[in-house]
């Protein structure tokens, strides 16, 4: 019998099975609670609307729409200016997509679609049905642009152009050089940053030019990480997986005679010609890029310069009240989005044959971030010099017995649904205490989106949120036992039960010690494991002490007495024929 050697392995195997299955059940419970909490919030708590963005010269400072929007002629306008509308910013948390963060299969499928990697080691950046696609061939190190041509027979013909650091050709030749690890910057653009050579490249396939941009030093904090809005595939497949949506609308004026709103052009300081105002920059002169510290830079493709223009504003959390200038780390926010604003004027063409030229001015950028838990959003507006001109957070009106007022949605989301919050708290406390402590200590090491799919270490739990609390250490240590209290009490009670049962069963001192420590550390899963793996022998009454004892042990584990075997003395009588 290999019971002695096999038992610890069997216990660990059983423990693992119990842990995985219990974690799945608890995950489903937490998911339903979070769904209820997020959907219970009113609509106005998941959006920030600025009646004026403050980015157009001559406009007042950014102002938030707090009350109901005033709509006239189909447009949201200021009540004091019935025929005129300032530029507006609208940012929304997409509640569905916050919840979809917890569904890893969906995340993986959408991530696989944009950008995608094919069997020939090609990274597809974007693909248009009518104009072909753009991809990077890892094998040759060249960027390939495919043009779709139409012939009179309505058959599609494709022409490939290959771009390397040294130029563009219609054949892949070594003289073009090679890119190593390029990332696309800007949506639908052909501007790249090579992470290995730390160099920016602007590729113009129409002019057959590759322009080398600024080269960063190794370790330069401005190194871009994000491909903001890159790739149209998300839209193509209808799986737009951003947790935030942002829109900037240009200033408009109502023409009563035409009975319609029209964009309002305007003059910039020192300019004699008027400009049109745009969300983004379709001329690809100014491209916003994000670095890993959360700072946003504007990459000027004409001047080949990189200038800081803003940063990701840190959103509120349950135990955190972020300061105005605090920068959010891209890994620690569930989503971020930014929208540069530009003024564009078409310049008079020299001749009819030359392509049109444009004068582009950068006016500033609107940035939004959603918190790790998906419950709060921060919005910031930066002027062209990168100076913060507005900072706001999602808020909702809370009325209590003592007071009423606007509070951050990060805390209001839990106050609005006490039953769901309590259930969520209790479910989190069914997790093993050792995982709760790990969530407290290093929950923020897990990327924000992955935190929603976590089974064991829960960075978005109450304890995990406390771990990221930026207050005093004393406050953190004061709250920790309160938040972990139910879990600790349950574990200690279960450990007590295990110890008591182990004593009755006559387990050895070492086994009792390990089971007690294990149950305190792993809580409910350890207790279930104990119940599944404990010896199944039926106990019998000890004739010496009267307690229950194991029939498979030579001595009673309570009193140490041996089995009392009646002496077999032969009878005095005999059977005779």
């Amino acid at each position: 019998m290999n019971k002695q050697t096999g038992n610890p392995i069997n216990i660990m195997a059983t423990g693992l099975i119990v842990m995985v299955l219990l974690s799945l059940v608890l995950f489903c419970g937490r998911f339903f609670c979070n769904t209820h909490l997020i959907y219970n919030m009113p609509l106005d708590s998941s959006r920030v609307i600025l009646s004026t963005s403050g980015l157009i010269p001559g406009e007042p400072a950014p102002k938030r729409v707090v009350e109901e929007e005033f709509i006239r002629y189909g447009h949201v306008i200021d009540q004091n200016e019935p025929n005129f509308r300032y530029s507006m910013v609208r940012v929304y948390i997409e509640k569905y997509n916050v919840l979809f963060s917890a569904i890893g299969a969906l995340q993986d499928i959408t991530a696989e679609m944009a950008p995608c990697h094919d069997v020939n080691e090609r990274v597809c950046y974007w693909s248009y049905e009518n104009s072909g696609d753009l991809c990077f061939d890892k094998r040759t190190g060249l960027i390939i642009r495919r043009y779709k041509l139409s012939d009179p027979n309505n058959k599609s013909l494709f022409v490939d152009y290959f771009a390397g650091p040294n130029g563009i050709s219609n054949t892949a030749t070594p003289s073009l050089g090679r890119f190593y690890d390029p990332i696309l910057i800007g949506s639908y653009s052909t501007d790249f940053y090579d992470k290995k050579t730390h160099c920016f490249y602007a590729i113009d396939f129409d002019k057959r030019e590759v322009n080398k941009g600024p080269q960063l030093l190794q370790g330069d904090g401005r190194e871009p990480i994000a491909n903001q809005g890159g790739g149209g595939l998300w839209w193509l497949y209808g799986v737009y997986n951003e947790v935030l949506s942002i829109s900037w609308s240009e200033p408009e004026i109502f023409h009563a005679e035409k009975d319609k709103w029209e964009p309002r052009r305007g003059f910039l300081p020192g300019e004699k010609e008027d400009y049109g105002f745009n969300e983004g920059d379709w001329t690809r002169t100014y491209i916003p890029v994000l670095d890993k510290t959360g700072r946003i830079h504007i990459y000027n493709t004409k001047e080949q310069s990189l200038t800081q223009c803003g940063y990701l504003p840190a959103p509120h959390s349950l135990f955190e009240s972020e300061q105005q200038n605090e920068i959010a780390n891209p890994r620690n926010v569930l989503g971020y989005i930014f929208c540069p604003v530009t003024a564009i004027r078409r310049l008079p063409a020299d001749t009819n044959k030359l392509p049109p030229r444009f004068d582009v001015k950068y006016l500033g950028v609107c940035v939004a971030c959603v918190s790790r838990e998906g419950t709060a959003m921060a919005v910031a507006v930066f002027d062209p010099n990168g100076k913060l001109i507005y900072r706001g957070d999602t808020q909702t009106n809370m009325v209590t017995s003592t007071s009423s007022g606007m509070v951050s949605t990060a805390s209001a989301v839990y106050s609005k649904s006490p039953i769901a919050t309590t259930t969520l708290f209790l479910l989190e406390n069914l997790q093993p205490p050792v995982f709760e402590i790990t969530s407290y200590l290093c929950g923020d090491c897990i990327e924000a989106s992955a935190g929603h799919r976590a089974l064991f270490i829960l960075p978005n739990s109450f304890v995990g949120m406390l771990g990221r609390y930026n207050g005093t250490k004393f406050d953190k240590e004061l709250f920790l036992p309160l938040l972990m209290g139910p879990s600790l009490i349950l574990s200690i009670w279960l450990a007590f039960r295990v110890r008591k049962d182990a004593k009755i069963l006559g387990l050895s001192g070492t086994a009792k010690k390990w089971w007690t420590v294990g149950t305190i550390a792993f809580g409910l899963p350890a207790y279930i494991t104990y119940r599944l793996t404990r010896p199944k022998e039926t106990l019998v009454t000890c004739q010496n002490c009267g307690s229950m004892r194991r029939p498979d042990m030579e001595i009673c584990h309570r009193c140490g007495s041996k089995w009392e075997v009646p002496e077999l003395t032969p009878p005095n009588w005999r059977i005779c024929d």
């Binding site: 195997a13 059983t14 099975i17 569904i103 890893g104 069997v119 595939l233 497949y237």
Partner: protein, 215 residues
């Protein structure tokens, strides 16, 4: 060993036939839907229908796999099959390995027609991005196959009892609990880690139970 595997298959032929029929029916209806039943942009509908279809077939198939594991252990315990075989020139280890191989074959029989159908459809439709085809046929299929096998292994846990109702209910419950793991963790390395560890743990526990039980 080969004879033992054949014997396991014969004893549980109902599961093999059911899995094959299920797989063929689902594959045929899937192919029909993809070619004749869907309107609109095929590049949009194919991935969407594939995912919905995958979720739809996951439940009956995983329950079948779990049921097979539970059935093998239940009939062994009640009919004393291992006790009879142990009188011949086979060990418990041989019996257990043959049983697990038969279970794995069942999982393959359930998956291969469906995997083939998906690959065939993606080849016919000609997705704009070849990666999706390769990804769906490999990176999605392997975790799904592991999930099916994990369900079978969980079934082995549930079956070692004399009670007829317990293994049925426990196998059903555990497989339903286990299915969401692939939805939650997706198709990355984490799902491989979780499922491989779970399979290993289930096999160790099943072997421990089987090897220490009185025949």
């Amino acid at each position: 060993m080969f004879t033992l595997i054949i014997r396991e298959i014969e004893d549980n032929r109902i599961f093999f036939i059911a899995a094959a029929i299920l797989a063929v029916i689902f594959s045929a209806s899937f192919i029909y839907e993809q070619f004749y039943g869907i309107e609109g942009d095929e590049h949009v509908t194919v991935p969407a229908v594939t995912i919905s279809f995958g979720i739809m077939i996951a439940i009956p198939l995983t329950v079948a796999f779990c049921g097979m594991g539970a059935s093998q252990m239940y009939w062994d315990k009640t009919k004393k099959i291992s006790a009879l075989l142990a009188t011949l020139a086979v060990t418990r280890r041989h019996i257990f390995i043959a049983r697990v191989i038969a279970g794995f074959l069942l999982v393959l029989i359930g998956f291969i027609p469906i995997a083939e159908a998906i690959i065939m459809i993606f080849s016919k439709v000609g997705m704009p991005f070849p990666s999706i085809r390769g990804w769906l046929s490999f990176e999605v299929m392997i975790p799904s196959l592991l999930l099916g096998f994990a369900c079978y292994c969980v079934g082995l846990q549930a079956g070692w009892t004399s009670n007829r109702v317990t293994p049925t209910l426990v196998a059903l419950g555990l497989s339903v609990i286990l299915i969401p793991v692939i939805l939650i963790k997706g198709f990355g390395w984490e799902i491989y880690a979780v499922l491989v560890l779970l399979i290993a743990a289930c096999l160790i526990r099943a072997w421990y139970k089987f090897s220490t039980a009185a025949l």
